[in-house]
Symmetry: C2
Subunit: 328 residues, 2 copies
């Protein structure tokens, strides 16, 4: 490739919300997870990433929402691009421009959509034409849960036995079930411990082994609930799974207490509404915000109820999203 | 014993706060616990119980704080008195008058002090002269954690292998360490699920077996922290143990979420104060209230800090208490 020439591509990916959570790695370098997981893509939230490989550049550059980044964020992207460059056999630096239409760092899994979009844009720009499975495996190297943002709709990430069989696949397309995730943004500071560090702490909890041992049972219950559109069963298993992950977090050393008082207030409100007959449930990632899941018919009512709770700053609602895709 | 004659005795016992928690039974009829536990008696809180066996009565009567009780509370006392009557070989009905100097049903383990006092008063009234071990075993039959309110000071309840070796004993007397429990009463309704029913649910959590398997390690750490008056180690192990019990509670079926938003606010405040250098830690029983533990020198400051938090109705402070005892 002559000096000064450019290779570029752009891709859009959606973040995902896990119904059965990923917490802890078997292999933290390869992001081989300690257990399989199931998630739903969030179609109304998106990361759009443009990658330009430019043979005149001397180092990689990363712009997030228009702002040039430095330090750990760039280093992480550089290491990921090294994997793509090795696959393509082309060792050219890149400029990465990434934009989210949702707030970063608030437990909304922005790294999942970021690395899914980057995997597709970077690999395509360098001439690679990866299958969905190959792309999912590649995205996983950037951020574990990014592998789940590669396929569309409802997705399962199989733990697999090694790098080759550790990827995510669609278990039901977006139109299978009109679920909505009402993301409750709370009046809190940024989370104190990022999920990358948190995964390392999982093994220090006396409960992690029991959580993992029970995972196949929960995956089966969740898969069946999704496939049969059984909201009651879904509610039961995803709240249990969320509690299990937070149980491991709060009993790790040091203890990770991601919940805030307002988090617990939303949880208890949701439980109360469900007791009163409204089909609604919650799940919480590595942060204080609460993901309240309901069917589309009830989303307006749920959003209104949530907005009236104390400490709630905003409610972002999203329907089920599709796969990562190339864009102009 | 001629008709109309009376046999009576009165006893005072203190409730206790567990550092290593009792949650779940091996044998729910005998209250043989799934794991051993360690607690501290609360000397400033007390239950005073007078028992009068009266051969002219046709059924047992129970007065709590002067109010005649009916239903489940009386039935539970009657079954307990049946055990005492069998031991003594005297089958006479009794009037039980019990008074607490602290609010009941607010996660303050009133059944522990109640059955410790009742065990001593009832057995003594019927002429039994039980050893501390025998009395601890007897109190256990009324309420598991009552066995820990029989000895004084810092107490360990060994799980044992059967009814005979399942009792509590003193591991350090009250004067060994001037700890204070600042009990934070929150603005909440009574707890929704009592601990008697909760113990039954423990086995439904996928985490209970792991919590139990790790118990000997925690008991050893806690015992050593108490014996060496090592507050830093005590803080670490009792917060972990409390989190482990609540992890089991919130992952049981149905889920038990005893924490309220204000509970979490107190927890996070305590963690912050400790980070700032104040030796303080917390533990939470089957309720929303928080037990904040500190050394006597810091109790006034801790009480003041707690009283200033939102949602805090009252703070009851107690130093270490002695054994159950007969009174006039």
């Amino acid at each position: 490739m002559p000096l000064g020439s450019e290779l570029s591509a752009s891709a859009v990916a959606h973040p995902n919300i896990a119904f059965i959570k990923y917490w802890g790695d078997r292999d933290s370098a390869l992001h081989l997870p300690a257990n399989g997981s199931i998630s739903m893509n969030l179609g109304d939230l998106a990361t759009r990433t443009r990658v330009v490989f430019d043979s005149s550049m001397r180092s990689d550059e990363l712009f997030l929402n228009g702002v040039l980044q430095s330090g750990a964020a760039v280093e992480r992207v550089r290491r990921f691009l090294d994997i793509v460059r090795s696959l393509a056999g082309q060792f050219i630096c890149a400029r990465v421009e990434s934009e989210n239409n949702f707030p970063a760092g608030a437990g909304l899994a922005s790294s999942a959509s970021a690395y899914a979009a980057l995997a597709l844009a970077a690999s395509h720009a360098l001439g690679l034409r990866l299958s969905e499975i190959e792309l999912s495996r590649l995205a996983r190297r950037g951020s574990g849960s990014a592998c789940r943002s590669v396929p569309g709709g409802f997705v399962e990430w199989q733990a697999g036995s090694n790098d080759l069989d550790c990827y995510a696949f669609c278990i039901a397309p977006p139109k299978h079930w009109a679920l909505v995730d009402c993301i409750v943004l709370l009046d809190t500071a940024q989370k104190e411990v990022g999920s990358l560090q948190g995964h390392v702490l999982a093994a220090t909890s006396p409960l992690q082994a029991a959580r993992l041992a029970d995972a196949p049972r929960r995956l089966e219950l969740c898969r069946q609930a999704v496939l049969s559109r059984d909201f009651t069963s879904l509610a039961e298993i995803i709240e249990l799974d969320s509690h299990l992950m937070h149980a491991v977090m709060m009993t790790s050393a040091p203890s990770l207490l991601y919940w805030q008082p307002a988090t617990l207030q939303v949880m208890k409100s949701v439980i109360g509404w469900r007791r009163d007959g409204l089909p609604v449930c919650y799940t919480i990632d590595a942060g204080a915000n609460v993901h309240v899941i309901c069917e589309a018919d009830n989303a307006a009512q749920v959003r209104k109820l949530l907005g009236a709770l104390e400490g709630v700053v905003d409610v972002l609602c999203s329907s089920v999203g599709g796969a990562v895709r190339l864009v102009e």
